[in-house]
Assembly symmetry: C2
Homo-oligomer: 199 residues x 2
C-alpha cells in the first residue's frame, strides 16, 4: 500500500504502526482494578492525562503540552528494550545502553525533519534538565505509586519492597512539585500504616 | 489518604484514578499483532501519538497540542457508556444520550476551575466545528482503518462490512486532510483488491 505514498508520509505511517507494539510491553504493576498488569501504551495515556489535569501543581512554569508530548513518546524505546522494573538494580544498570540503541532504531526511521520534533522529546525527557522534563518524571513516578496504593500495595508485598526504597525512588517528584511530593509521602506513610508496605 | 489534601487536589486525583477504568473498555478491533482486542486507553494513546507525528498533514492551521489534549479525553465517557461499534447503527442512535450522561457524571466531579479546561475539550470534540476537532476526528477514523488493514481486514470479514460502508464512515477524514484521506482510500482499495473487504 505505502509504495504509492510520498516517502515522508509512508515513513511516518510505518513508524506509527510499529509503535503499536508498545501495547504489548507489560509493566510490573497492575491496573487499578487489579485484574491484570498494565501495558506501557495505556500507562503512557494515563500519564499524559495526569499531566493535563495536574498541570497547576508544577512548581516551575511549564508549557504543559511539552510535558504531554514527552510522555507520549517517553516509553517507546521499551518496544525493543522492554520495561525495566523500578526496583531491579541490575536491569537499571544496563537500561541506558539498551534504550539508546532502541531510540536509534525507532526514531531514525522517521523523516529527518521529525528528528528534532519527535526524537528530541525523548532526549529531553532522558536528560531531565528542563522544567517540563522534571514534571514529566514526577508524573511518571506518581502514577505507579497511586496504582500500587489503590491495589493495597500488592506489588510492594510481592517483591518485598520496603518504604525507604519507595521514598528514595520517588524523591524526584519533589524536584517538580511540592504538592505532589506531599501526596506521594502521604500515600507511602498511609501504606505503611495499613500494613501494605514494610517500614 | 485524600482527607488531608486540599479539596481540589483530592478531586483531581480521584478523577484520575477513576479514569484508569478506560483501560478495561474493550473495542472491537484488534491491536496490530492480532493477539487481542484493543482497549480504549491504549487506543487514546495511539491517537495522540498519531496526531503528534501526522500534524503536518492537517489542511487547516491547527494547534496540534489542542488536538492531542482532545484525544486524551475524548473516550473517557466510554467508562460509563462503553465503546460503540462504528458499524452498529442501533447503538449509534443512543450514543449521544449515553455519552452526555457519562460526561456529566465524570467531569462534574472535577473542581469548577477544570470544567473549562478539561470538560470543554470533550465538548469541542463532540461539536466537531473547529479545525482541531476535525483533525482529531480524522485521526480517530484513520487509526482503526490502519489497524484493520494491518490485520488483513479481520474485523470487516468477521462482521461482513462492505467497502462502501467503510468509505462512507471514513469520509470525515477528507474534512481535515486531503493527504490522509488519500491514505484511507488507498487502504480501502487495496483491502478490496486483497479480498479482505467485499466491494
Amino acid at each position: 500500500m505505502t509504495e504509492s505514498l510520498d516517502d515522508a508520509l509512508a515513513q511516518r505511517l510505518d513508524f506509527l504502526l510499529d509503535a503499536d507494539a508498545l501495547k504489548t510491553v507489560v509493566r510490573r504493576n497492575a491496573i487499578r482494578d487489579g485484574s491484570r498488569r498494565e501495558n506501557s501504551a495505556e500507562h503512557s495515556w494515563h500519564l499524559a492525562l495526569m499531566a493535563l489535569v495536574l498541570a497547576p501543581y508544577s512548581d516551575e512554569q511549564v508549557e504543559i503540552h511539552d510535558v504531554i508530548a514527552m510522555l507520549l513518546v517517553h516509553d517507546l524505546v521499551e518496544i525493543d528494550a522492554d520495561d525495566t522494573f523500578a526496583y531491579d538494580d541490575d536491569a537499571r544498570e544496563t537500561k541506558p545502553r539498551r534504550e539508546e540503541a532502541a531510540a536509534s532504531r525507532l526514531y531514525d526511521r522517521l523523516p529527518d525533519i521529525d528528528r528534532d520534533r519527535v526524537r528530541r522529546l525523548w532526549d529531553d525527557y532522558e536528560r531531565n534538565d528542563t522544567p517540563a522534563a522534571r514534571f514529566a518524571h514526577a508524573i511518571d513516578h506518581l502514577q505507579p505509586l497511586l496504582l500500587n496504593y489503590a491495589n493495597q500495595g500488592a506489588l510492594w508485598r510481592e517483591h518485598g519492597i520496603v518504604a525507604s526504597r519507595v521514598r528514595t525512588r520517588n524523591e524526584t517528584i519533589a524536584n517538580a512539585s511540592v504538592a505532589l511530593w506531599d501526596v506521594a509521602q502521604a500515600l507511602i506513610d498511609d501504606a505503611v500504616e495499613m500494613g501494605w508496605l514494610a517500614e
